[in-house]
Symmetry: none
Subunit: 223 residues, 4 copies
Amino acid sequence: MVNKRLPARAAPPRAAEPRQRDADRSQRDILDAARDEFALHGLGGARMDRIAERAGVNKRLIYYYFESKESLFLAVLERAYEGIRGEEQQLELTQVEPTEAIRRLIAFTWDYYLAHPEFLTLLNSENLHRARHLKQSSKIPAMHSPLVQTLADVLERGHKSGVFRAGVDPVQLYISIAGLSYFYLGNNHTLSTIFKRSLLGPKAKVERLSHMTELVLGYLVRD
Amino acid sequence: MVNKRLPARAAPPRAAEPRQRDADRSQRDILDAARDEFALHGLGGARMDRIAERAGVNKRLIYYYFESKESLFLAVLERAYEGIRGEEQQLELTQVEPTEAIRRLIAFTWDYYLAHPEFLTLLNSENLHRARHLKQSSKIPAMHSPLVQTLADVLERGHKSGVFRAGVDPVQLYISIAGLSYFYLGNNHTLSTIFKRSLLGPKAKVERLSHMTELVLGYLVRD
Amino acid sequence: MVNKRLPARAAPPRAAEPRQRDADRSQRDILDAARDEFALHGLGGARMDRIAERAGVNKRLIYYYFESKESLFLAVLERAYEGIRGEEQQLELTQVEPTEAIRRLIAFTWDYYLAHPEFLTLLNSENLHRARHLKQSSKIPAMHSPLVQTLADVLERGHKSGVFRAGVDPVQLYISIAGLSYFYLGNNHTLSTIFKRSLLGPKAKVERLSHMTELVLGYLVRD
Amino acid sequence: MVNKRLPARAAPPRAAEPRQRDADRSQRDILDAARDEFALHGLGGARMDRIAERAGVNKRLIYYYFESKESLFLAVLERAYEGIRGEEQQLELTQVEPTEAIRRLIAFTWDYYLAHPEFLTLLNSENLHRARHLKQSSKIPAMHSPLVQTLADVLERGHKSGVFRAGVDPVQLYISIAGLSYFYLGNNHTLSTIFKRSLLGPKAKVERLSHMTELVLGYLVRD
DNA sequence: TATGAATGAGAATTCATTCAT
DNA sequence: TATGAATGAATTCTCATTCAT
C-alpha cells in the first residue's frame, strides 16, 4: 500500500537466476530503486537493503558502483534535476507568445510534480540536509542558467509588447510558480487533513491549476 | 580509564546534579529539545539520545512522559500548529480592511516561517510520513476552521465592497499564500545553490515579501 | 585449542540469567575479554562479537562503556602497562646491591613476559599501528620516568662501588634487557620452527634466563 | 555520474591500459605489493584490493597466481627469509677473525632490519598466527642450518684461540643478537613514545649499534 | 594471461526501548 | 519523579573470493 504512490515505472528485474552481467543496466536499476526508496522514506529512513531488493541486485553491488549511501543519494538527485530540466527545455517557451509561455510553464510544473512526486520528496530531503550533497555537484547549478535566461526573455518580450508589467525578477517569479504547485502537492497529506478536503480529486486538480494560472497572470498582465 | 568515568562529551546543557523534580518544566524542556532535534534531522534522523541530552534529562524520562518517539513527534507537531494558529488569530483580520487583511496575512506567514524554520521542517517530515501522526489528532483540524472562516469573510467583504474579484476559494488562496513563503524559505538551501544567489540577505527578504504581496493583490484586486 | 595459550584468568561469567547490574564488574569483564581477544588476534583480527561473548555481556554494552574498538584497545593497553610497571616497582631495585638489582630486573622481565604473553602481542599490535593509540595517552609515558630513574640509580651505584663499567645509558640497557626476553618469547613460534628446537621446555627456559643474565652482567661488570 | 566512470581514486601506480602479458613480472609485482601491504597492516589488516592496486594488476590475477590471501602471505614470507639469509651468507663469517665475525653479524643484522622494516612486521604477523604458514614451508628451516653452523664455527674458533668464553650456544647467541636489534627497531614507535626520546636519529643509531656490540663482545670476550 | 561484474558472509556500530532501583 | 545499566534488532559498510568472458 505504501508503495502505491510511486508509479511502478520499469518494474525491477527481481529475477532469481544469476543477474545478467550488464553494468549499465545494473546501475540504472540501482538508481531507479534508490530514487523510489529515498522518495518514500527520505535519506535517513531509506534502507540500502530495500534498495538492493527493489533493484534486484546484490547489496554489495550498490557499493561497487556507488561509494556510499550519500553519494548514491547525490547521483539520484542529479538524475532527478536532469529529468525535470531536460523536459522543461522542450517547452520551447521562447517560441511562443509570452502569455502562452507562462501558461505552459505553470502547467508543466504542475504536471511534472504530479507525475514525479519523488522529486518533491528528494528536494525536501536535500534541504533538510542543507543542500549538503547538491553543493558537491557542479552539474546541477549549470542546468539552471538556461532556465533563468528563458524566463527573463519571456518577461522582457511580454513587457515590450505592452502585455506584462515591468520589473519582474525571473528568479522570483520562477520560485513563485514552483512554490504554488510544490506546497500544494508536497504538503497534500497535511493540507487535506487539516482542511478536511480532498486535494487530488480530478475536480480539485483542475481548480488548482486554473487558480494558479489566474493568480500569476492576474499579477503579470497589465490592463 | 573508561568512558563513564571520564565523560569527554560536550558539557550537557543543564546541570549535572540530579534534576529538580518539576514535572512541567521537564516536559516542556523535552518538547523544546524534541522540536529542535526533529527540525534539524527529521523524524527518521532524530535521536532520542540527543533529545535527552539537549533537554538535560535522562533518556528514560522521555519515555515516562511520552510513550515513544512517534508520539513525542505528534506532541511536538500539535504544539507547533498551536503556535502558528494561535498567533494568527491575533491578527484580527476581520477587524481591518480586506486589502490590509491580506497584506497582514502574507506578512505574518512570511515572518512566522522566518522566525520558526522548524515549523517547515516538521511539516515536511509529517508529509513524508503521509500525515500519519496528524491523522491521529483531533485537535489540529479543529484549529483550522476559524482560519478558513476568517479568510472567507475577508474575501467576501472585499468582493462586496467592489475591491476584490469574485469567486476566490479561501482554502485555495490560503494554500497559495503559504506556499509562496514556504517554498522560498523551506527550499532556500537548494534554491540558493542552483540559482547561485543568496535568498536570505536583508534586501532579498524585503524583495520577496513585496513580490508576494504584489502577486497576490495584483490577482485579487480588480481594477 | 587456540585459547589454551592464555591462562583462563578470572573465568568469564557467561551466565545466561540477566546480568547483574554492576557497572564496575561489567567494565572489568569487558577489559579482560578484550585483552585476551586482542592478544590472540591483534587489533585488526579481534572481533567485538567474540569480546562480548567472552565477557558475557551484550555487545552493545561494550559501546556503552567504551566508545569504539579503538578506544577499547587503548584502555586495554593502558591497563597492560599499568600491570607490568606496577609489579616492576615492587622489585625495590634501589634497596639491593647493583648486581642483584640487575639480576632481579632480568628475571622479572622474563617471568612477566612468560606469564603475560598477551603483553607482547599487544605491543606488537600497537607498533604495527605506529603507536597511534599510545600517543593519545598521557598516563603511559608518565609511568616510565620512575623506571628510568631507578635503573640510572642502580647503574650509578654500581659504577661508584667499582663494580659496573662507566657510561651505560639506562634506557639503552633497559631496551636490551627487555629485547632479549621479548624476541625469544614473542617470536618463539617462528624461532622454534626455523631452528627446529623447542624453546619453552623447562630446560630451555632455565638456559635462556642464565644466558641473558650472563650476557648482561658479563658486559656490565668489570673485572 | 557513477563511480566506475569517474575513477576518482589515487592514480594507480601502473599504466591503465591492459597490462602486458608478462607472467614473471606480474608475479613479482604482486609479491612486492603484498609484502608492503602485509608489512603495513599485518595479515589481518591487509586488503587484497589494495595489493592489486599497488601491484597494478587486476585482483583476479592474484588468485590466478596465488591461491588465497594466506598462501600469498606464505610466498611473501619465504621470499623475505630468502632475502635476509641470502645476504647473510655473503658475510663470509668463517673467513674472518672471530671478533670481527661477531661485529659483522651484529652490524649486518642491524642494518638489514633498518633497511627492511617490513621483515620485522612480517615476523610479528607470523608469530601472531603461531607460525601457521611457516610450518607449511620446508624451505625455510633448511635455510637456517648453515647459519647455526657458521656461528658455531665462529664461536669455536674464538674459544680455541683463547679469545671467547666457552660454552656459548650459537642459537642462543643468535637469538640475542637478533633480539637486540629487533626489539629496538620493531618496537620503536612505542619505545620512543614511552621514553619520550627519538630512537632513529643519526646519533641514536650509532649509539645503539655500539651499545649492542659492546654488550655482546663484553660478554663473549674473556680477559 | 587477463579482467570487469557480482556475491555471501560477516564486520563495526547504531538505535529505540526496557530493566531495576 | 528520576536515573544508570542493559539489550535485541537492525544498519551501513567491508572483504575475500568466484563468475563469465
